[in-house]
């Protein structure tokens, strides 16, 4: 019967092998934990308190999903398979070693078929690991993607973890070469390698001697890896899971928190290390430097000074070496202002780093210091004074509706079923009024009972908050809540995904009486499903659809707009970056109000080029007023007027009715 032999071939005249193995391992583990503690204690010694201990079951779920199953890592095929091949193998090796320890000291069970299965699984994962390591070597030394940090530390880590596995494989194979048991096939990799030793014709004593040497080497490499782990790039194996465990739960992806406060209630505006919370410091230490955030970042692609990866790493650098001032030193204001708040960085991060919250915290500091560019200052001043960024009177807010018969109801004066929150751009931008009118006409034709707030509506504040002007955001929320409380309605419907996000996720639930908030594409989708909206024409266009960040990534609305487009008889051809990977137009987070700054290629232009490369697509469909503005410009500046037309989704609906 197959039996497990403990410490095969290890001479016992040194004393019981357990004794020195456990001594070395416990010492190594102790050093590792001590060094880890020294690193980690900086988080709560320097960082501000922040409650992240609630709902432990959900947090455990996050740990399993993101640190063990690694669903985010797997979002990208090559690096995903590469990483899980390595990580899952180590989980299996760890489990295997733990089982062996249990077998040795507590409960013997590794014999017979159980042992064969056990051996087979461990051996199979050795192969899985080697495939992963091979992919890593190819990626790091041949592919060399720009987003990776190609530094010696990573080479060191890869070498260590590979040597550990090779050490295990070699010891096993040498033992098998000597023992040649009948069940050797259950360790296919080890047995295959053993053939090599058998072929050399070395004597049993020689092979046993080699075995001892490799075994000692294997043991020492494990010890060295443990000892150096807290200062090596393998640290992410501890900080990554912790970061997933402590990630933001209580608020949806689309919601930001107000500035943190000191115990006396003073808001903390982040400019230096000690203004950050311990979780934000942990973000820095959890970064694996994979660069997925940077690769997805429209600001980085446009050649602005922002790299979300660099930003998070400068927190780590400041924490461990480079002094404590962040904003203005390690992190340039231009980098902070370049963020479009599209959320792609957060969405792509395998260890759930919250880049955006930190960027907004730092922008809050810049705003309090009055350090805002002239155009943003004008916009904020206008928003504070008139409730819109256009600097026009609130009495002009509904001027676009002039000429629409019957006159659109004033939701502040008579009850309506749908309160239509039009939003600034749709209401004030002269180039968008035609589209806004079409929306109204569609609503009327469907027989929707709807109204608008006229001058009672203010900017929702979504991007005001993300520009870092929290006080103004609060003021706008108060004003809008006042108008909403005065009105009688069942559902809010918005034109703008940005207002949608704020109303749905950031306005206090009691403000609109917990009434549902719909984006107009969701409403249209419902109306089509219920048969209230019927089309008379089949448009037959070949179109592509751009997911607005605040509708897609922020709120997961991907299918409703697509169903509406298809219902008009159009065929959708997807761009390579679609749905949750959609590439931002560059206008969000207050960017639309700021001076553009130097860019190598505008995100909107990159996006239009992406669309034009699709085969025979004639229309670029959007569902956000800012997108119409951004992309119509980009079509002109890239000289693609002859190839593609930017249309709001409502234009298709209007045309097909």
């Amino acid at each position: 019967m197959p039996e497990r032999v403990n410490y095969w071939g290890i001479p016992h005249n040194w004393g019981a092998p357990e004794l020195y193995v456990y001594t070395i391992m416990f010492l190594a583990a102790f050093v590792m934990l001590f060094r880890f503690y020294r690193q980690a204690s900086l988080w709560w010694k320097i960082g501000q308190p922040e409650a992240r201990w609630d709902k432990l079951h959900l947090r455990l779920g996050r740990l399993i999903q993101y640190a063990i199953v690694q669903t985010k890592v797997l979002r990208q095929r090559y690096p995903g398979i590469m990483h899980v091949a390595i990580a899952w193998s180590y989980f299996v090796f760890f489990l295997g070693t733990a089982l062996a320890t249990i077998h040795d000291h507590f409960f013997e069970f590794l014999f017979g078929n159980t042992l064969i299965v056990y051996k087979f699984i461990l051996d199979a994962f050795t192969i899985v690991f080697l495939v992963g390591a091979g992919m890593a070597i190819y990626r790091r030394y041949v592919q060399k993607p720009r987003r990776l940090t190609l530094e010696a530390g990573f080479t060191g880590s890869l070498t260590l973890i590979t040597l550990i596995v090779l050490g295990g494989l070699f010891t096993e194979s040498l033992r098998l070469a000597v023992e040649q048991p009948a069940w050797a096939w259950s360790s296919p990799a080890g047995w295959a390698l053993a053939q090599l030793w058998i072929v050399t014709g070395a004597s049993e004593a020689t092979l046993t001697g080699w075995h001892l040497g490799v075994w000692v080497f294997h043991l020492l490499i494990v010890a060295i890896t443990l000892i150096t782990l807290p200062v090596s790039t393998l640290m992410h194996a501890l900080t990554g899971p912790l970061n997933a465990f402590f990630s933001k739960l209580d608020t949806s992806f689309g919601a930001l928190s107000p500035a943190k406060e000191t115990p006396t209630g003073e808001p903390i505006y982040v400019s230096q290390l000690s203004d950050l919370s311990w979780k934000q410091l942990l973000d820095g230490d959890a970064c694996t430097e994979c660069g997925r955030c940077q690769e997805a970042c429209p600001a980085f692609a446009a050649g602005t000074p922002l790299s979300p990866k660099k930003l998070i790493l400068s927190i780590r650098d400041a924490l461990h070496s480079n002094g404590s001032q962040l904003v203005g030193e390690a992190i340039l204001p231009e980098a902070l202002w370049a963020c479009t708040t599209c959320g792609a960085c957060i969405h792509e991060c395998p260890v759930l780093i919250e880049h955006l919250d930190t960027i907004v915290d730092m922008r809050r500091h810049l705003v309090i210091e009055g350090d805002v560019d002239a155009e943003l200052q004008d916009a904020l001043t206008n928003l504070g004074r008139y409730g819109n960024s256009f600097g026009q009177s609130e009495r002009m807010r509904a001027r676009w509706s002039k000429g629409i018969e019957p006159k659109i109801k004033d939701a502040g004066k008579e009850p309506v079923e749908y309160l239509w929150f039009v939003g600034d751009y749709a209401a004030y931008s002269p180039t968008l009024t035609e589209i806004t009118k079409k929306t109204a006409v569609v609503f009327q034709k469907v027989g929707l009972d709807f109204g608008i707030l006229y001058k009672g509506e203010n900017h929702s504040g979504n991007d005001v908050r993300r520009a870092g002007e929290e006080g103004l955001f609060e003021m706008l929320v108060e004003k809008n809540l006042k108008a909403l409380e005065r009105s009688e309605y069942q559902t809010i419907v918005t034109t703008d995904p940005h207002s949608y996000n704020a109303l749905k996720n950031e306005y206090p639930a009691n403000g609109n009486g917990k009434k549902p908030v719909l984006h107009y594409t969701e409403l249209l989708d419902q109306l089509i499903a219920s048969g209230e909206l019927r089309f008379t024409k089949n448009l037959g266009y070949k179109v592509t659809y751009h997911d607005p960040c605040y509708l897609g990534r922020y709120n997961g609305i991907y299918d409703a707009p697509r169903r509406v487009i298809e219902a008009t008889g159009c065929e959708i051809v997807e761009m390579p970056r679609c749905r949750d990977q959609a590439f931002c137009c560059g206008a969000g987070g207050g960017r639309i109000w700021m001076a553009e700054g130097e860019m190598s290629e505008r995100p909107s232009e990159a996006r239009i080029r992406e669309a034009v490369e699709l085969n025979a697509v004639t229309d670029f469909i959007v569902a956000c007023p800012k997108d119409v503005t951004m992309y119509a410009d980009a079509v002109k500046t890239t000289g693609n007027e002859a190839y593609i037309v930017v249309k709001d989704l409502i234009e298709l609906v209007f045309e097909a009715m």
Binding site: G370, T381, R385, G391, E469, G471, E474, M475
Partner: protein, 255 residues
């Protein structure tokens, strides 16, 4: 240590359509929205810059009006030390002579070294406030200033002249300066700072008593410019239009 007084007023905000009151001699205040006079905003910025650079105390004086509280708190959030609101019969808009007398009365008490105010405002009907205040305070006045630095008993002021000329003038204190532009554009004040000021800062309200508007101009009629009917549209091709133009010039004795 310089004692700086800023005189600021609210003027009609031109985002709203202006309406003439029934009297036909003034704007209809009911439809007006008021905003800080842009030049006073620059004067405020200049005062705060001076304080930050060379110390001193900044007091802001403003006549009561809708939105004056908010304006004063905003200035306090920028760094002004003392806020004074003049209370009186400002309701229907008074002329600058009366306002300047009220300003001067309040400013005199403060014994200012330097008085800064906007060089002009969109509702100045009888001259700008600065020179009038200087007259009533018996101080010297320089206007169209776009930069000030204090050195002891004097200030050096950069005065802008038409045609792109700039003069640096040494002015002995105390003096009144009419500010065209601050050295830096007015800074942004976060709303939370203004709201904080609303809780912590106090506005010193001072009664001005009867206003003396003498010396100012009297408005007889205020009206929206009327479209004249003298325009003649020339039609036809280039040749015809040119020929007709020459004819007109001849008729007018220009050629």
């Amino acid at each position: 240590m310089t004692n700086i007084v800023v005189l600021a007023k609210l003027v009609p905000d031109l985002v709203e359509e202006l309406e003439i009151a029934e009297s036909g001699t003034a704007l209809d205040m009911e439809w007006l929205r008021l905003i800080i006079n842009e030049f006073d905003n620059h004067a405020t910025e200049q005062a705060i810059i001076l304080k930050e650079r060379s110390g001193g105390e900044v007091t802001v004086i403003a006549p009561e009006a809708e939105g004056a509280n908010e304006m004063l708190y905003t200035i306090a959030a920028k760094g002004a030390d003392r806020l004074i609101m003049l209370k009186g019969d400002f309701e229907d808009g008074i002329n600058n002579h009366a306002l300047a007398r009220a300003f001067a009365g309040a400013a005199k008490e403060l014994k200012p070294d330097l008085v800064l105010t906007g060089v002009q405002a969109n509702d100045d009907l009888d001259g700008s406030v600065g020179p009038l205040v200087a007259e009533y305070l018996g101080m010297s006045y320089v206007g169209y200033i776009s930069g000030v630095s204090v050195s002891g008993e004097t200030v050096v002021a950069r005065k802008e002249y038409p045609g792109g000329l700039i003069a640096e003038m040494e002015v002995t204190l105390p003096a009144v300066l009419g500010i065209q532009a601050g050295e830096e554009p007015p800074r942004y004040v976060a709303i939370s700072k203004v709201r904080q000021m609303m809780k912590t800062a106090t506005i010193d309200e001072q009664e001005v008593g009867d206003l003396d508007a003498s010396g100012g101009a009297m408005v007889q009629r205020m009206y929206v410019p009327e479209a004249a009917e003298r325009a003649e549209m020339l039609e036809g091709d280039e040749e015809e239009v040119a020929a007709r133009l020459v004819e007109i010039f001849k008729e007018a004795g220009l050629v």
